[in-house]
Symmetry: C2
Subunit: 393 residues, 2 copies
C-alpha cells in the first residue's frame, strides 16, 4: 500500500480526492486536522473528535517539549498513548513556534537558540533535535524543521530563510524515525516566484513523503496567502499529499482545495469559539451578541453537531455571558464539526464531479470577515456584505 493514493482530480480546478494510509489508520483527503498543540484539542474530548469524523490530529514539538516534557511522554510510551489517541498524529517541527513565540532567538548554522516563552530558559532546536523529538513523540507524520520568516521580511532575509530551510531539510531527511513515521518537507519563499520554485524543487529532489506550504498564516493578507500556495503548488509532485500549514477560514479551505491542497490545520474553530463566535455556512456569527438573547434556534439550522441538536443560541449566549465552560465547549464542538463537515462536502463533491458548483455556492453564501475583506485588493469595502460578526479573524 502506498502512503498516498490520488483517487480523482477535479475537472474544473486543481482539487484532488485522495487517501493517505498510515500504520494507525486511513485519512481521506482533502482533510482538516484539528489542532492538539498541548496534547489536547482545546475544549474538545476524544469522543467528540471521533463523532465529528476526525481521522488525524496535530501535535506540537515545541509545546510538548516544554510541557509536559519528553521524559514523561516517553515514559507513557509515545504521544498517542500519553493522550489516548490511537488514530494518526502529525507533529509540527517547532520551527513556526521558535520564530513566532520564543523570546530572543539566535539563528545558528545547526538550528536556533532561543528562550522559552514560558520561563525564559535557554533552549536549542535544530533539524536534528526536532526530528529526534518527533521520533520520541512517535507521530505518524513528522514535519521538517524550517525557518519561517515574517511575511514582510526583506528579500535577503527571505533568501536566507529558504537556504537554511533547504539545508535543514537535508539534515532532517537523514535522521532516524519512529516505526512507520514519514516526513514532510516545508516549502518557504514568501511570494517570490523564484524562491518558491527553488525551495520546492530542492525539497522534491529529497523525496519526502509529502510537502507543506509554509510561510503562510503569518499575518499576510488573503491574496498573498493564496499567491504563496499558487507559486509553490506547480512544483509539487501530484502523487504526494500537499499540506497548507495553519490555514484557514472555511471559505479559504474551499479555495485552497481548488488550488491543489490536500491537508489543513487551523486553530480558528476552537479559538474563535472561546471568544463566543461560531462558524456557519453563511460566515461567522457572534453567539455572545445581544441579538441572540431570545433566539431559540440552534447555532445553524440542520447542523447535526451535538451543540445544535441540543442547545439554542439564547442558552449558549447565556452560558458564554456567565462564563460557564459548557458555552465555549459547545461552540468549539460546533465550529470543529462545521470544519469537518465542509471537508466531507468537498470530498463528496469532488467524487461526484460537482466541486465547481459547490465552490461557487460556497463563495456566494459564505460572507467573509471584515479583516479578510480588507485584505482583498481591488475591492471597495463599503459595497461588500459583511459578516454578522465584526470580530477580526
Amino acid at each position: 500500500m502506498s502512503f498516498f493514493e490520488l483517487l480523482k482530480t477535479d475537472g474544473s480546478s486543481k482539487a484532488r480526492l485522495g487517501r493517505i494510509t498510515t500504520t494507525r489508520g486511513v485519512i481521506d483527503t482533502p482533510v482538516f486536522m484539528p489542532v492538539g498543540t498541548q496534547a489536547s484539542v482545546k475544549a474538545i474530548d476524544p469522543r467528540e473528535l471521533d463523532e465529528m469524523g476526525t481521522q488525524i490530529l496535530l501535535g506540537n514539538t515545541y509545546h510538548l517539549s516544554i510541557r509536559p516534557g519528553l521524559e514523561i511522554i516517553q515514559a507513557a510510551g509515545d504521544l498517542h498513548k500519553f493522550m489516548n489517541w490511537n488514530l494518526p498524529i502529525l507533529t509540527d517541527s517547532g520551527g513556526f513556534q521558535v520564530f513566532s513565540l520564543a523570546k530572543i532567538r539566535k539563528i545558528r548554522a545547526h538550528g536556533v537558540e532561543f528562550r522559552s516563552h514560558l520561563d525564559g530558559s535557554l533552549l536549542f532546536l535544530g533539524p536534528r533535535e526536532a526530528m529526534e523529538v518527533q521520533r520520541i513523540l512517535g507521530s505518524d507524520i513528522a514535519m521538517v524543521f524550517d525557518e519561517c520568516p515574517a511575511h514582510n521580511c526583506s528579500a535577503q532575509e527571505a533568501n536566507e530563510a529558504v537556504e537554511r530551510t533547504i539545508t535543514w531539510a537535508k539534515v532532517c531527511r537523514e535522521q532516524p524515525r519512529a516505526p512507520g513515521q514519514v516526513a514532510f518537507g516545508i516549502v518557504q519563499g514568501g511570494i517570490d516566484p523564484k524562491l518558491r520554485e527553488h525551495c520546492a524543487r530542492e525539497l522534491v529532489a529529497m523525496d519526502f513523503e509529502g510537502y507543506a506550504v509554509g510561510g503562510v498564516s503569518v499575518g499576510e493578507p488573503e491574496p498573498e496567502m493564496m499567491r504563496a500556495v499558487e507559486l509553490a503548488e506547480p512544483f509539487l509532485p501530484a502523487e504526494k499529499p500537499r499540506y497548507a500549514m495553519g490555514l484557514g477560514t472555511p471559505a479559504q479551505l474551499v479555495e485552497l482545495v481548488a488550488r491543489g491542497i490536500d491537508m489543513f490545520d487551523c486553530v480558528l474553530p476552537t479559538r474563535i469559539a472561546r471568544n463566543g463566535t461560531a462558524f456557519t455556512y453563511k460566515g461567522t456569527v457572534s453567539i455572545k451578541a445581544g441579538f441572540n438573547k431570545m433566539d431559540f434556534r440552534p447555532i445553524e439550522e440542520d447542523c447535526e453537531c451535538y451543540a445544535c441538536k441540543n442547545f439554542t443560541r439564547a442558552y449558549l449566549r447565556h452560558l458564554l455571558n456567565v462564563n460557564e465552560i459548557l458555552g465555549l465547549r459547545m461552540l468549539s464542538v460546533h465550529n470543529s464539526f462545521m470544519y469537518m463537515k465542509v471537508m466531507r462536502d468537498i470530498r463528496a463533491h469532488i467524487a461526484a464531479g460537482t466541486f465547481r458548483e459547490f465552490r461557487e455556492m460556497f463563495a456566494r453564501t459564505y460572507v467573509p470577515s471584515q479583516k479578510v475583506l480588507a485584505g482583498r485588493q481591488g475591492h471597495i469595502l463599503s459595497t461588500l456584505p459583511v459578516s454578522e460578526n465584526a470580530a477580526a479573524i
Copy 2:
C-alpha cells in the same frame, strides 16, 4: 402514585430507601443532585450527566433571576426547555444566596432588600417573589424562602431567623405553583435543640411535600453540621423526603444517610475539580501534584467513569498544568460520577441489608481532609491519617 414512597428502612441506622415520583421522572433516594446554579452543571454536559445516572438537577432562583433573567427563561418555556434538561429540577429559593452573596441587605417583614453581587443593582426577594420565580422556572420541587443566618450568630438572631422562616414558609405555601410543582419547607434553628424542634414542628404542620435541613454548609465544623441534622430529623415525618442542603463530602453523605437524610446537593465535586483535586473512595487526591507526574494509572482503579476509562493521572496532571479545559472537565466528570456511585452503593446496601457494613468500610477507608479532621472535637490531629491532598475542603 404518592410523591414519595418509603421502600425500606435500615435496621442499623436511620438510613432509608425511597422513591420520589414527579411528572418528569422518578428519583431513587438517597439521591445526590448535581448543582446547575446558572442552568449548567459546571464543566459537565447533559450527556455526561445522563451517563452517570443523574435523575434530578439543582437550579438557583437568585442566580437565574439576575442572569439570564426570567424574561428569557419564560420565553424559552421554562428552565427545563431553556437548558434542555427534561428530567426533574429542584430550585433553591434564593434565600441562601441573599444571605451569603448579596451586598448590603435589609431584612424587611415581607422579604429582603439587597444589592446584586454582580452590578450592585437594588433587588427584592421575599416568599412571594421566590415562589413566583420558581413558578416561572417551572421546577419540579420548589424550596421555600427562608432566612439562613451565620452559624455563629447570636441567640437572638437565630430566634428571629426561625420566626421569619416560619412566617415566610406560610406565605410560600399559599403561592401559586407551576403544574406538578411541589414545595419543600426548610428547617432552621442552628444547633439549638428547642429552635430546631420548634421550626420543624411549625413547618410540618403546614404539610409541605418534603423538608430540608437548612443552616448547614455555612462554614460550621462537621460535628455542628451533624448535630443540626440530628436535632431536626426526629420531628420530620417519615413518609416525606428529607433534604440536607449544600452537603457534603462523600464520607459525610454516608453519615447523613445514616441519620435519615434522603437528598443532597453540593458544589464540592465540581469545585475541587477546578482546583485539580479528585475525590476517591480513599479520600481526596491532588491530581495536579508533582507525585502524579509519571503515574500512568487512572484517577481511581476500577472506576467506570469516562475519565478513568480513558486517561491517566499523568496526562490529566499535564492538562491541569497547561490549563487545558479537558483537565478540569475530566476531574469534574470523575468527581460527580464518584458521588453518584457512592449514592448507588448506599441504595444497593440499604436494599441488601448491608448498609452497616458499607458505612463501617467507608468510614475506615475514606480519609477526611485536614479541615474536616480539625473540625472534629476531641481528636488529636497529629495522630490521625491525613488525605493525600492537603487542600482545605
